[in-house]
Amino acid sequence: MSNEPVLEIRNLNVDYGLGDVGVQAVRDVNLTLHRGEVLGLAGESGSGKSTLAYGLTRLLPPPGVITGGQVIYHPEDGKPYDVLGLTDRELRAFRWAETAIVFQGAMNSLNPVHKVSTQLNDVLEAHEPTMSARDRDARCREMLKLVGISGDRMDAYPHQLSGGMRQRVMIGMALILQPQVVIMDEPTTALDVVMQRQILGQIIELRERLGFSVIFITHDLSLLVEFSNRIAIMYGGRIVEEAPASTLYRDSLHPYSAGLLGSFPALRGPRRELSGIPGSPPDLKGMPSGCSFHPRCPKAFDPCADNIPVLGRPDAPDGATRSVACWLHPVKEPVG
């Protein structure tokens, strides 16, 4: 893992709807994904984590619109460019070749009337039309083997595979063009814990072999702590804290992160009461003034109700590697 960025999100804003009736789902998000790293994106339902991921790939269905920001992609060789400035044709070529997505339900992402091989082949036919049929076939077979499915399942239909196998096929399909960035939107939510562990292990192993970066979206923070390099916590459409996974787990700065971490039990260590977070997520149509978390925050004080805290490096010993948006932790230098 290097410190070289592969995807830089700068002040990304996403709305649903236009003008007055619009709802701001993602606000001023700054995030950098480095080469070869797993970046976890966590938060409650409705915090904007999926919207962020689909917004940066411009996959949001209407009425979603991007109202501002840049998404700078750094290809392995060549100059960085803004994904949001691409034309439709360039965007088509960019997708899957540079960024791939593994969707939530593998059962719905595979077409039930086509063989697995046909669907894998489709990707190659669209993006590498010069490839011969034999090469394509060999590549599909290799890809399936890579995700732990034997080559004789090539001609299987999706219903003949188990849920875990289908999700593996989806991961294989995402990696078939060797993209630099893979976005995973709760890829293991529909699977049992044993299969979850296997698939996550496989993703880690593949990442070490192929060197892609992962944006991993989930509401399961315990999963991220174990599995990702860095974690970004979202609340009300903003990133409230971002830190290396172990740092975040050991001492989280934002009360919301602390609340999330306090809502699942540790395997070892002294017993403690599970606290949870009081209240419910904010209504995006009428966000609270100031810090959007202040009505639920146990540590809220004067400035929280009026001023929105900016995301920035906190004044802490390890402040250079993390950022937080909270008035409890004065910011030395804002991010972005």
Partner: protein, 351 residues
């Protein structure tokens, strides 16, 4: 068993009072009236149909001449006295078309309503109730599907001295089966959806399930079936008149075309004889299709909620919102927050 509220309070302390600030009122999305009409396609279609309906009602009164009245001016091109010219008997073409509108509209709409009601009743019943109902009703609609409608109408219309209402009923009774099959298929798919199962689990009655859970999802299909049948009925009636079947006493556009054809209007260069009637048919078909497009967009909440679908992007193009290519309205790295509120970055120093 009821859960005492206090136990909920213990688990989630302060829920409600603390969760959201009380004073703010959510910016309520304005509920727009006449939303359907604000759709340009639907509005255009409705205006044209409205004009047709108006002429259907007042046509015979505002017609400048009696459509049967003969005069000395034979096959005259359009003039101030005869806006659409005259026929070989000196009849006024404009009056014929105005008087003929009523028959066309009555037949079209009656046949459309009859066929739509039949197709909804048969299709939804067969799809929802299943079993023996499905078998027998499917068999019935299959039989009606293979009955050739136009020859049947010709036979009925030529044997009975048929008024336009009889023609409308025959068209309606023979053209419902296609719609019924489509509705049956869609109902079969809908009745196993989770939200229908959930409604059934909450104890809703069969009738409520059909009318409140299933029918709203069929609106687009029903509407397009209605519009399709109306277009079919209008063309069928005009065809009948054009080939010379149907009452000579009832003027309609097909009748005009029949006389134009039999007197070789084209060879005579009398374009005013057939072009107005042809355009009247074409505009009616266009208007009905436009309304159909409008209904399609209107009944899908997903398409409706967006309001505006065309939007100007950062690159200066005006694009249609569509799946897979989210429009980018601004492409600068300027944060939005600084523009509205000014958060203070507090200076950190030794304290």
């Amino acid at each position: 068993m009821t859960i005492p509220t206090s136990s909920v309070e213990q688990v989630i302390p302060g829920q409600g009072a603390m969760a959201q600030p009380e004073d703010r009122k959510p910016a309520k999305a304005k509920r727009r009236r006449f939303r359907f009409v604000s759709n340009a396609k639907a509005a255009t279609g409705l205006i044209i149909i409205g004009i047709y309906l108006l002429f259907a009602i007042i046509g015979p009164w505002i017609a400048p001449y009696d459509p049967d009245a003969q005069s000395e001016e034979l096959v005259q091109p359009p003039s101030a006295a005869h806006w659409f010219g005259t026929t070989h008997l000196g009849q006024d073409v404009l009056s014929q078309i105005l008087v003929g509108t009523r028959g066309v509209m009555v037949v079209g709409l009656t046949a459309g309503v009859v066929a739509t009601i039949l197709s909804v009743v048969v299709g939804v019943t067969a799809g929802y109730l299943g079993g023996g109902w499905d078998d027998s009703l499917s068999a019935l609609s299959n039989v009606f599907l293979v009955i050739p409608a136009l020859p049947l109408i010709i036979i009925v219309a030529s044997s009975v001295s048929a008024g336009s209402l009889i023609v409308a009923l025959v068209i309606g009774l023979t053209s419902w089966s296609w719609g019924a099959r489509v509705l049956r298929a869609q109902t079969l798919s809908l009745r196993r959806r989770d939200y229908v199962e959930a409604a059934r689990a909450t104890g809703e009655t069969t009738w409520r399930l059909i009318f409140f859970e299933i029918l709203p999802n069929l609106t687009a299909i029903i509407a397009s079936g209605f519009v399709g049948t109306v277009i079919f009925a209008v063309t069928a009636e005009i065809t009948l008149a054009f080939i010379g079947i149907g009452g000579i006493s009832n003027w309609n556009w097909g009748e005009v075309l029949f006389w134009a054809q039999s007197q070789q209007a084209l060879a005579q260069g009398a374009w005013w004889w057939f072009i107005p009637a042809g355009l009247a048919i074409a505009f009616l078909g266009t208007a009905l299709s436009l309304v159909n497009f409008g209904i399609d967009e209107f009944v899908s909440p997903r398409l409706r909620s967006a309001g505006k679908t065309k939007i100007k992007t950062a690159s200066g193009h005006t694009v249609r919102m569509r799946v897979g290519f989210t429009p980018v309205l601004a492409n600068t790295a300027e944060p939005h927050t600084h523009a509205t509120t000014t958060p203070v970055v507090r200076k950190v120093g030794p304290s």
